[in-house]
């Protein structure tokens, strides 16, 4: 069984993002970049499927500028077998990425496509669902447990009120939630080995996909700042303030 894992390069989740003064976006120059945390979970899950003898090959795919290759290398260092880089400098929105991944899936014929549920830059939470729709495949979003079983898979999902379990026919698209697994760190020997693993270069044109953005960003602004409040000295003072000053209890 082949597993395709999509990975996205984003500003490191621990970096305090700054909005550009001209309101066109956020500052990305000299900012630490990393693989989107939910994509790391997706890569890890694919590797665990391979270690369990369920998956035979893991292909990591990323769409974006030249630097997306570094993110593919990270996936290869974690344990993916080979990479695909769909290179473009156009700003990619989820629908465009889903169309590119559909074209890659048509080429690769995976049984499972794994994606993170959400990228921590645009916070869209769309790409996996869009891809599943375009392929006409079943989908399991927000997975916290995936059990592939021949031509089916059973997936436990994190839903609003708890957990839900569904079964899907393969091929299917799955998106990862936080508790699916804890991603491993790539070891130094594996980082060295990853440098020799192949990355195929593709372009949206070669895949026949129009990636023009559908949404135009008019403005990016800083959120309103909260005024910092006061420190109280005791629980009694806190309760008094909540009752008599804020009047919220």
């Amino acid at each position: 069984m082949k597993v395709l894992v999509a990975v996205k390069r984003v500003i490191d989740a621990n970096v305090k993002v700054r909005v550009k003064a001209d309101g066109t976006g956020v500052e990305t120059a000299n900012v630490k970049m990393a693989m989107n945390p939910f994509c790391e979970i997706a890569v890890e899950e694919a590797i665990r499927m391979k270690e369990a003898g369920k998956a035979t090959e893991i292909v990591a795919v990323s769409c974006g500028g030249a630097s997306a290759q570094e993110t593919i290398r990270t996936a290869l260092a974690m344990g993916a077998d080979r990479g695909i880089h769909v290179q473009t400098d156009v700003e990619l929105q989820p629908l465009a990425v889903a169309k590119l991944l559909k074209a890659v899936a048509a080429k690769e014929q995976p049984q499972i496509v794994l994606l993170g549920k959400q990228a921590v830059d645009d916070d869209c939470n769309q790409t996996g669902q869009m891809l599943a729709g375009l392929l006409g495949w079943p989908q399991a979003t927000f997975a916290s447990k995936i059990v592939p079983n021949g031509s089916d898979a059973t997936v436990t999902r994190e839903v609003d009120a708890g957990l839900e379990t569904i079964s899907l026919k393969l091929p299917a698209v799955m998106t990862t939630d936080l508790r699916l697994n804890e991603p491993r760190y790539a070891s130094l020997p594996n980082i060295m080995k990853a440098k020799k693993k192949p990355i195929e270069a593709l372009t949206p044109d070669a895949l026949g996909v129009d990636v023009a953005p559908r949404l135009k960003t008019l403005k990016v602004a800083e959120p309103p700042k909260r005024k910092s409040g006061i420190k109280v000295k005791s629980v009694a003072e806190l309760v008094d303030k909540l009752r008599n000053e804020a009047k919220v209890i």
């Binding site: 629908l95 921590v120 869209c124 839903v159 936080l178 960003t217 909260r226 804020a246």
Partner: protein
């Protein structure tokens, strides 16, 4: 121009998300039709008919929608959406799954979790865990939009008298099957609609210590939440998580106990009216957003708080 608004409901009643999304739909303008899709959901449709501002309720009562399977719900949206200029839905685990799938099948973008409506084609949403507020304009023929409840006041639930029209579904796609569910049972209010939320973080040290918070929550009729760190550590289930990738809340009072205030947690609660933080580390970033901060060991402060609230 007309909007299809997707109701969040439990088959018998509407949930608060529907009322917040209705306000967003009213800001867009145009006629509003409310879709109540479910199984045995006539009572929810009747409740929808009472919403002022709703012109018509579309009741789609079909076993295919009993569990909100994304493939089936998306197929229904694909069938209905072409008659509308806008499709709006409150953010729930069902709409998060089904809306983008339907949007892609109609070859339109989705605008996720809006917090503002500037005009019928221009919307405001947050990115980078709420560290940037982004205004986007859509040129698509149908605007697919999910609505973050905290961005819009709840519309009144009574006063209207719309007609309820039964419609046929789009069938069962058979792509996935519901196997079972384990839902948290709680007498407390739901996190996203509670007036008061009390959350614990890594500082709670163990899941059993959340009992202390539950006692305070019961006194305040509050919901109990948690930071991602507490969920990651296995103290509480994922549905407790408040933050960028968990639930977004904006209650009248948010009490953060043993929570340091990581960016991704602040993204889920910083629009709360009053924020209280109790943490023994006086440098914790949570104090920068707290209206009332108490530097104290939570293991003494929380029982004290419970006792003080009983007075």
């Amino acid at each position: 121009m007309a909007t299809l608004l997707i109701a969040e409901h439990d088959n018998t009643a509407l949930k608060a998300g529907t009322l917040h999304a209705l306000t967003a739909a009213q800001k867009v303008g145009g006629e509003i039709h409310l879709l109540v899709a479910g199984s045995g959901c006539k009572a929810a449709a009747d409740a929808g008919a009472k919403l002022p501002g709703v012109a018509k309720v579309l009741l789609c009562d079909d076993a295919a929608y009993a569990h909100g399977l994304a493939e089936n719900v998306a197929a229904l949206l694909v069938k209905l959406a072409p008659s509308y200029s806008h499709v709006l839905a409150p953010v729930t685990s069902v709409t998060k799954s089904a809306m983008p799938r339907a949007a892609a099948l109609l070859d339109v973008a989705q605008i996720s979790e809006i917090i503002g409506v500037e005009s019928p084609d221009t919307f405001v949403r947050t990115t980078y865990a709420g560290n940037a507020i982004t205004t986007v304009q859509s040129s698509d023929k149908i605007k697919f939009i999910t609505v973050r409840g905290t961005g819009f006041d709840a519309a009144p639930a009574e006063g209207g008298s719309a007609a309820v029209e039964s419609i046929g579904g789009a069938g069962d796609t058979g792509l996935s099957n519901f196997v079972g569910q384990e839902l948290s049972r709680s007498e407390r209010p739901e996190l996203t609609s509670a007036r008061i939320v009390i959350s614990g973080g890594r500082g709670m040290q163990a899941g059993e210590n959340f009992k202390m918070l539950e006692k305070v929550a019961d006194k305040l009729k509050a919901a109990v939440g948690a930071s991602r760190a507490a969920v990651d550590a296995g103290f509480v289930p994922n549905e407790y998580q408040v933050g960028q990738t968990g639930k977004i809340v904006a209650p009248d009072l948010y009490v953060a106990i043993g929570i340091s205030g990581a960016i991704q947690h602040l993204a889920g609660m910083k629009d709360s009216k009053i924020i209280v933080a109790i943490n023994k580390d006086e440098e914790a970033p949570i104090f920068q957003v707290a209206d009332y901060g108490l530097v104290a060991d939570l293991f003494t402060a929380v029982p004290e708080l419970e006792a003080e609230l009983s007075k």
